[in-house]
Amino acid sequence: MNVDRRWRISLRVVALGYLAVLLLVPVALVFYRTFEKGIGAFFESITTPAAISALFLTLEVALITVPLNAVFGVLAAMALVRGKFPGKRLLDALIDLPFAISPVVIGLSLLLLYGRTGWFGPWLTEHGIQIIFSLPGIVLATIFVSMPFVVREVAPVLKEVGDEQEQAAATLGASNWQSFWRVTLPSIRWGLAYGVVLSTARAIGEFGAVSVVSGKIAGETETLTLLVEKRFQNFDLAGAYAASALLAVIALATLVFMSVFGSRRAES
């Protein structure tokens, strides 16, 4: 379709303009504000004890959550693509749930299950296990919200690859496990990588659900995102910007990885 040149330019301008006004300029401004006072101030801001503990907590949560998501993701993708069981449709639908539910509702659901007055509350208290207002609660909330990403990226790749290579492996003597490890997994590795990156970004960036279940205890259950909020509430705008910039850098790194893994996936 030969849209004439004026149309093309105007569409481009509108599209890029919208992007700039909504996305690019605000983010650029935050970076500007962050480093306005110099790199030194920035570093000071992100190396306070609270900030360091927030960073470690965030990473710790991600380190637990993402591998679990990866395992579940591959399992669920295998079930959806290769499985011949009824209930496949149900699993497919359920996997989409975390996308559509408000993070606050997710936090509430965990509260009502593992909190003091929740279903498991009395049992947990009896056994001295703390889930809400502690690391396990944050982990559970983060798993909930970031669960679908790996499945959704691996399943199409698995489907595309087909199972002929596994059949060949079987005729060559490979057991199910050998076939999975040596043939299936390598064939989906870029889809898996892409899904892991998305899952990690989501895990690091989670705010709403964690707001509800963590108790926001500084130095203990305060993640980076919660730190941003706290600093803002305490009128420490510069500090909030600094933490935000850190998170934004992680986000940009995520975009880079998405680009790289995305094209690798397309190539294979």
Binding site: M1, A79, K88, L91, L224, A248, A251
Partner: protein, 275 residues
């Protein structure tokens, strides 16, 4: 294989290969523990005081105000991004310019950026310390702005692959029959894109309805004014009113489920003409 075998569902399990049964079982178990069980707790708690309490909670003036505002502003954001999203998908697929790949990557920023940071960045440019003098903080518009930000990629990413796959020959045929570009777009291209646009918009809507982090800072969460349902639920939790929180949450859950079903329906409708 040369044999024309009947539909996949009828084939018996292949010998010597995993049939997915174990994977299926484990996946369902995991999802039940992580997702279904907690959600069941919400539904149960909302009914703790019987239907009466449930109804009171969801029909309280504040709850209704929040819900109405949420639906309205979410629909608005979805609609606006449906238009702009389609436009941007078009530019990304059909146009050529330097830096296009970077622009394409940047579109995913709202997916990658934490929502609280998104809110903060919008506040920086469009809040009280705005360098350009635009201050929408504490207004309804600020909520719309935040929702536009977080739902930006949905329609774009939904439409892009469809546009890429679109059969150029259809457009060429239309042109050879005398149709001008505008007509071609309206009668040939848009109908093919419609399911993708709608399902992207539906996803955007579902996301917008539940959005919390980006809205919290910039809107001020003023009850009866700029308070959205997710913030309302949060306040209910803070005020130690679990039944109220759970009740409104159930409403939001039902809404989410309806939207998810609609998206599935759109998917089926969209591929009805596929060979």
């Amino acid at each position: 294989m040369s044999v024309a075998l009947p539909a996949k569902g009828q084939r018996s399990a292949r010998a010597g290969l995993p049939s997915g049964g174990l994977a299926m079982g484990l996946s369902m178990l995991w999802i039940s523990i992580i997702v279904l069980l907690p959600l069941a707790a919400v539904v149960a708690r909302s009914l703790d005081g019987g239907i009466g309490d449930f109804w009171d909670a969801v029909t309280s003036r504040q709850a209704i105000s929040a819900l109405r505002f949420t639906l309205f502003v979410s629909l608005g954001a979805a609609a606006i991004n449906a238009v702009f999203g389609t436009l941007m998908a078009w530019v990304l697929v059909r146009d050529q310019f330097r830096g296009k790949a970077i622009v394409n990557a940047v579109i995913d920023l709202p997916f990658a950026l934490p929502t609280i940071v998104a809110g903060l960045t919008l506040l920086a440019l469009y809040g009280p310390n705005s360098p350009i003098g635009v201050n929408v903080a504490l207004t309804k518009a600020s909520v719309l702005l935040a929702l536009l930000f977080v739902t930006l990629p949905f329609v774009i990413r939904s439409v892009q692959p469809v546009l890429l796959e679109l059969d150029h020959e259809m457009e060429e045929a239309a042109a050879s029959l005398g149709a001008r570009p505008g007509v071609i777009f309206l009668r040939v291209i848009l109908p093919s894109l419609l399911p993708a646009i709608l399902s992207g918009a539906a996803l955007a809507f579902a996301r917008a309805v539940g959005e919390f982090g980006s809205v919290v800072l910039i809107s001020g969460n003023v009850p009866f004014d700029t308070q959205v349902s997710s913030v309302f639920v949060y306040k209910q939790i803070e005020s130690d009113n679990p039944i109220g929180a759970a009740a409104v949450s159930v409403v939001l859950l039902v809404l989410s489920l309806l939207v998810l079903m609609a998206i599935r329906g759109l998917g089926a409708w969209g591929s009805r003409h596929e060979r």
